[in-house]
């Protein structure tokens, strides 16, 4: 299955990409596992956006522009977009 990863703000600065499509086996995948795959693929992401094996608390994930998720909660399916962005807003 294919999942589009969209990077915003600091994650985009670190990874150097606006988006990319990652391919995985199976029909669905936990968001935590998608994050780990991104972390393995991009050392800069691992260094700056991860806290051990979890995404740093200053970043968050959103599925398809709809709901925000804790890593443990959400599941991504084929064709989904996973947005990775800074936690804060304001301005």
């Amino acid at each position: 299955m294919k999942i589009k990863i969209e990077y915003y703000g600091i994650p985009r600065q670190r990874v150097g990409l606006a988006s990319e499509i990652l391919e995985f086996d199976g029909e669905q995948m936990g968001i935590h596992d998608v994050i780990l795959a991104i972390s393995n693929r991009h050392p800069e992401f691992q260094q700056h956006c991860m806290d051990g094996t979890r995404i740093d608390k200053n970043f968050t994930v959103n599925l398809n522009g709809d709901r925000f998720y804790q890593e443990d909660d959400g599941v991504a399916h084929d064709g989904d977009s996973l947005l990775i962005l800074s936690m804060d807003a304001g301005g």
């Binding site: 969209e6 915003y8 703000g9 600091i10 985009r12 600065q13 700056h48 740093d56 200053n58 968050t60 959103n62 522009g65 709809d66 709901r67 925000f68 998720y69 804790q70 909660d73 947005l83 962005l85 800074s86 936690m87 804060d88 807003a89 304001g90 301005g91």
Partner: protein, 594 residues
């Protein structure tokens, strides 16, 4: 009175009609409860019955309130609040700014400056400790805020700090700002209140310092806070600035576009900081005593090397997508013009976007004023700042303009209580919708941080439930403390236990031994004081709402983003009960009532 660490224990009441001043004491219990900044300013206005005066009358009062942390080594603490009855909303208004004016103002030996009366002619109010004088300002009248400040520095000396108004304040634009070293107390029209008093500038200087209860502990805390302020919680602000929100909000469908008709904008990428960084020279700067450095200043396309504009998300959104303008140069120029005239970018963009829609609907005969027209946007700002032709009506704000235009245009005037909405689409961010509706100064993202709730896993941001009322109250309480201490809200992500840590900070300064419960009590007291001021001004529950179009139509480009008046009213009732008020929002009178 007993000396209180971190405070002078007094404020200066200045009558600019006569050029005289009187020192008045502040009870320690008042300081403990209302702390400083917005809280203290509101308390003083209540004590002076400031609700009784028209905001632009000589009798009106305006307070510059400092705080116990000003002058301390804590990062971002060089801030102050300007509090008055707003000429735009007719309700309480508190706008904050960071600059050396906070430090120099507090060194006059006062915790606040309360100004009333009207100078007989354009004047500079010079305050040197308790010595107050009026100097002529005829030669400065008509000058931009920046030029005025520069000239005053030459004339009076660099050891003064200044608060100045631009032409917008002189001409009583209802959303005129007060500027300080390029920063602005921006919202609600405090610049017009000063302009109505014939005060072009305030110059402050002094040598009075306050004591810290635990100097060693405070320095240690300051070092730790500075270190945390360099961390990942503030990374976004340093590297990209608040403008980083443009692409995120656009993707989430909550970037207000075409006067809040849509939540996405085709030209968003062009206005993103990533695109601006690629196309332009940029400089970063910080407010006084700040280690974050969120200010991003972009160079304009001009032969003049010094032409540049500070860009934040709010001016980008209001002068870009809201008016359907995607040209970087135009948005930068528009921001720069607002700064030069001394007018609030959000209300400027909101009012112009509203007028553009009225023209499009055939309700307004100003055919040149069209969505997406770069030159029209710049022309409209010039007309506002110069108080010329249609600019006279634009200068009143979108609510008053809608009342002039009629034909039901009030339904899509982008305002709550007269204050134009900031860049958060309420239908797509429904906790924020509640925060806007109940905000005492109107639609506001600084007094309610409810968008944080919407950007979390705790809620479905497009389908509000009553549980969100409690979360909205929590963000409002945190903001009340931040605005009274005062610290920059961009620090909020560095705190693990917000009320405990801010109590500890205040204890290092004052020695009061406060705990989390005390801070929460202060937050609730500050919010309630503002509410009581509004009630005294004539507030009624019908004011707590959103523009009716937002409650009857979904977003054009996201039909899932819809909000009904029934849902909003249920949220408001839940909010009021959560606050301990009656369901209509009136505080229940007790012995503790403010």
């Amino acid at each position: 009175m007993e000396r209180v660490n971190g405070y002078h224990g007094q404020y200066l009441s200045i009558d600019v009609s006569k050029g005289t001043a009187e020192s008045l004491q502040i009870a320690q219990e008042t300081l403990k409860t209302y702390i400083g900044g917005s809280g203290l300013g509101t308390r003083l206005l209540l004590d002076h019955r400031a609700w009784e005066a028209d905001p632009l009358s000589p009798e009106a009062s305006i307070v510059f309130a400092f705080s116990p942390l000003v002058g301390s080594p804590l990062t971002t603490s060089a801030k102050f609040a300007v509090v008055s009855r707003s000429p735009l909303t007719d309700r309480i208004n508190d706008s904050l700014a960071s600059s050396t004016f906070a430090i120099a103002g507090k060194r006059t030996g006062n915790d606040a400056l309360l100004i009333h009366g009207k100078a007989p002619s354009p004047s500079i109010l010079l305050i040197e400790e308790n010595d107050v004088r009026l100097l002529p300002a005829d030669h400065l009248w008509g000058q931009s805020a920046e030029a005025t400040e520069s000239r005053l520095r030459d004339e009076l000396g660099a050891d003064y700090s200044f608060a100045v108004i631009g032409p917008g304040g002189e001409k009583l634009v209802r959303y005129a700002t007060i500027s300080h070293s390029g920063r602005h107390a921006g919202r609600g029209g405090s610049g017009a209140v000063l302009g109505a008093k014939n005060i072009k500038a305030i110059a402050v200087r002094g040598q009075q310092r306050t004591e810290w209860f635990d100097q060693e502990g405070l320095i240690k805390e300051a070092r730790d806070l500075s270190k945390r302020s360099f961390g990942p919680a503030t990374q976004k602000y340093r590297e990209l600035g608040t403008a980083a929100n443009v692409l995120v909000f656009n993707r989430l469908g909550c970037l207000p576009t075409r006067n809040f008709q849509k939540g996405t904008f085709e030209g968003a990428a062009e206005l993103s900081p990533e695109a601006m960084d690629a196309a332009r020279d940029k400089m970063r700067s910080s407010c006084a005593a700040c280690t974050i450095g969120c200010t991003h200043i972009y160079k304009l396309d001009t032969d003049n090397e010094s032409q540049s504009a500070r860009i934040e998300y709010e001016n980008l959104f209001a002068l870009g997508p809201l008016c359907e303008v995607s040209d970087q140069q135009t948005v930068l120029q528009a921001s720069q013009l607002c700064d030069q005239y001394g007018i609030d970018t959000i209300s400027t963009g909101g009012t112009i976007a509203f007028a553009m829609e009225c023209v499009e609907r055939g309700l307004l005969d100003e055919p040149w004023l069209r969505f997406g027209d770069n030159e029209a946007l710049l022309k409209a700002i010039h007309l506002i700042g110069r108080d010329e032709s249609f600019g006279k009506q634009l200068a009143l704000g979108s609510r008053a303009l809608a009342q002039i235009i009629g034909h039901g245009s009030i339904e899509f005037a982008p305002q709550v209580k007269g204050l134009e909405l900031p860049g958060y689409e309420p239908r797509a961010l429904q906790t924020m919708a509640l925060g806007f509706a109940v905000g005492t100064r109107g639609a506001d993202h600084n007094r309610s941080g409810a968008y944080e709730v919407d950007f979390s896993e705790h809620v479905d941001r497009r389908n509000a439930t009553l549980a969100q009322a409690r979360l909205a109250v929590e963000t409002e309480n945190k903001a009340a403390i931040m605005d009274s201490l005062i610290l920059c809200k961009f620090l909020r992500g560095v705190f693990e236990d917000y009320f405990a840590e801010t109590a500890a900070m205040l204890n290092l300064v004052t020695g009061w031994g406060l705990d989390s419960a005390d801070m929460l009590h202060s937050a609730e007291s500050v919010v309630q004081a503002k509410k009581e001021f509004n009630i005294a001004c004539g507030w009624t529950p019908v004011e707590d709402t959103l523009p009716s179009r937002m409650l009857t139509s979904a977003l054009e480009d996201d039909h899932k983003a819809s909000l009904t008046s029934d849902t909003l009213n249920s949220l408001i009732r839940a909010y009021n009960l959560e606050r301990g008020w009656d369901e209509n929002g009136f505080p229940i009178v007790t012995g503790d009532s403010v």
